[in-house]
Each structure stands twice: as structure tokens, then as C-alpha cells.
Amino acid sequence: MVGFKLNLKEMNKLNLFFTFLAIVILSSCSDSNMRRYAKSPDQILKEYLNDEDFISPGEMLKIAEAPDPKYHLIDIRTPDLYIKGHLKNAINVPLHDALNPKYKNVFSQGNVTNIIYGTGNEDVVDLYLMFNELGVKGNKFFKGGYIFVASGGKSEANINDEKPAYNFAEKLKELAGAAGTTVQTPVKKKAKKPVIRRKKREVEGGCS
């Protein structure tokens, strides 16, 4: 029946090999969504530039004012800040802990869309990147921060932090004018021309 005979020593060797192979395969498959990127850097960049997954201040205020069961508010600030005040029905998942498997079910809600807010732009953009890279779906992010929503949109918030706060060049000119100096625009340093020194001519003439 069997074309070759295996002795006990060879059988052990084979068992050992296949056990090793099984461990390698199992370890690489387990938790694979945390080990691999769901999207390429190009894709991440493209989606960010298209402003996908971010919600406007108007939408956010509407959701906060009239809670809708199809939305699930998630506050990613620290527990201290969350305790001091948070939006109605919001649950707290601190940014540092957001990828902890214990919160897996919080973010995977099926038909429910998670509305994520934090202190401002930076923490929300970080979580946006993390989730996008791991392929966690069903989330919308609000950049403006809790204070803006809690005040009903009255407080000053930097919704779009990439908007220039000033016309920098104009403001500098204005300030320079007030101080009586001229504006130094950052220009590249010009390469210094090498100084060519002429040799002194020897005194001509005289008797040979």
C-alpha cells in the first residue's frame, strides 16, 4: 500500500515540522486586520484630500441637538474631560485606547454610523488615519471639537485648521511699517562671488 516505510524517528521529524508550519500559519492569520494595512498610502491621501468621512459643523450640531438612533456618538477625549462634560448619549473611548480589542464592538455597529469627536482637529485626524489604515468602516469624524458643539456652535472653533489665520506677507509688511523697518522676505542666500585679487605689477623701467 505505502510506497515507502517511515520509521519512528522519521515520523517524529515530520510531526515536528508540520506542527511548526501550523504555528507559523496560525500566528500570521490571527489578528490579521491589525497587522496589515487595508489601504495604500496613495488611497489614504486621495480620500483625505477629497474630504471623505468628515462631517460639517452644521451636520454635527444637528446630530447633537436631536439624537438619532442611526448615529452613535463617540468622545475620544481623556476620561477626565469626558466626566467634566460630554454630548448627550456619547460614550468615551480615549484615543490612546481606541485600538484596544475591547472596543471592537463599539466601533463595529452595523447599520449605525459612529460620529467621532475630540478636543479639536489633531486627535480626530489621528483616529481617522488609524481607522482608515486598518479598514474600520462606518465612522464619520468631526474636526471642530467638543467645546464648539457644546456651545451650540457659538464658541470660536477652528473647524478648518488649514485655513491661514492671516495673510502672512501682508501682516508682516504692516508690522514692519509700524516698526519703521522693511520686511525681509525669506530668500535664498546668493552665492558669494570669489574675489579675484590682482597681482601688483612690478615697477617697470630702469637700466638693464
Binding site: Y166, F168, K171, A179
Partner: protein, 207 residues
């Protein structure tokens, strides 16, 4: 060669081929795993303050490379001294990636705020580039901190006063001029008389 040895060798070969392709799927060879990337994202020393960056610019730090990821129009209008322009949408271009492909310089990435710089930092760090930091609060915050520096309020505090003096000095460096409180009246220019020397006649020759 015994049969078992053959099986083991074939198995190992198949295993290595499988691992090679599994690695390929995960992305570029240099790419760091998501877990590592996310740990780095949450580290505090990912960013640099406006004061620290200013200090390094003024000191002419040769290890400093500043990258402005705003668009070309904004860059041409105003930028930080010595900054190079790589707009965020062009960051993945091979020519631009070459600026980050070194382990010597400390690269500070900035935009008007923080979001665009965060995206650039994230993509570049993921691709395995090192020594990258983000300007905290971006150019908006830098301008307010340095160019529009305000004197400290409240009781005298040496540390705050020193910081204000530094910022006030930095304003001059960046072309604003000292604040009116410290500025002295312009001194009249003194003309130095130019003494022209007479050319000496050529000496020698036969008498």
C-alpha cells in the same frame, strides 16, 4: 536523500514562497507595521514647538530640513526661511520622496494648521522614513507665537520674560523689527570723509 528529508525540504520551500507573497501583500518592504505606526503617532515627541523651531532656524542648525506642505501659491507668498515646498498632494512623487530618504537631517513638516502635516507625517513614517517631526499648531500658531509675540502678563517671572525677550529678538530676525517699547531713536548717519591717495609716479628709468 531520504524521503522524509525530501518532504521537509519541499515543505520549507513552499513555506518560504508563501511567506514571501504574504509579505508582498502587506505592502512595501520598508513599510512599518500598523501597530508600530500607531504607537509612534501617539508619542509626544512627534511634534516640535514654535520656539524650538525658531531657535534652530536662528542658530542655522545644519541638521534641520524644513518642508512646507502647503500649496505653491501659499508658499510663494510667505514661508519659513530655508523651507522647501512639497505640496501634500505631491508628497508621494518619487522626486519628492528623495528629500526624506536620508537618516541624517531632522525634517520638520508644516502646514497652516496641523492636519495636512499629520497626513504627510503619517504617510512618510509608514513608508519607513525617519527623523520626521510636525510643527505644533502649524504656521498659524508659529506666527502668533513669534511674530505677534505678546509681553507676559501678571507678576514678573524670569522664565516668561526671557521667553518674551527671545521672541522679540526673533521678530527682528524674521524682519519685523523690535517692538516699539524697546526700539531706540534712529541715529543720524555720520559721513566719513574719503581720503584719496595720490598715485605715485613710476620710479626708475635712466636719468
Amino acid at each position: 536523500m531520504r524521503t522524509t528529508d525530501k518532504i521537509v525540504i519541499i515543505g520549507l520551500l513552499l513555506g518560504s514562497v508563501w511567506l514571501f507573497f504574504a509579505g508582498k501583500n502587506a505592502g512595501d518592504k520598508r513599510e512599518i507595521p500598523p501597530k508600530k505606526l500607531h504607537e509612534l503617532m501617539l508619542q509626544k515627541h512627534r511634534d516640535i514647538s514654535a520656539d524650538e523651531l525658531t531657535r534652530r532656524i536662528i542658530n542655522g542648525d545644519p541638521m534641520l530640513q524644513i518642508v512646507d506642505v502647503r500649496n505653491e501659491k501659499q508658499y510663494n507668498s510667505y514661508t519659513l526661511p530655508g523651507a522647501i515646498n512639497i505640496p501634500l498632494e505631491d508628497i508621494m512623487k518619487t522626486d519628492n520622496l528623495a528629500y526624506f530618504d536620508q537618516d541624517v537631517l531632522n525634517t520638520v513638516i508644516f502646514s497652516n494648521g496641523t492636519s495636512d502635516a499629520q497626513i504627510a507625517w503619517n504617510i512618510l513614517t509608514r513608508l519607513g522614513y525617519k527623523n520626521l517631526t510636525i510643527l505644533r499648531g502649524g504656521l498659524n500658531n508659529w506666527f502668533e507665537t513669534i511674530i505677534l509675540a505678546k509681553p507676559p502678563t501678571g507678576p514678573y517671572d524670569k522664565e516668561s520674560d526671557d521667553l518674551y525677550q527671545f521672541r522679540n529678538g526673533a521678530r527682528v530676525y524674521f524682519g519685523v523689527g523690535a517692538s516699539s517699547e524697546t526700539e531706540s531713536a534712529p541715529k543720524p548717519k555720520v559721513r566719513i570723509p574719503i581720503i584719496k591717495r595720490k598715485k605715485k609716479e613710476v620710479e626708475g628709468g635712466c636719468s
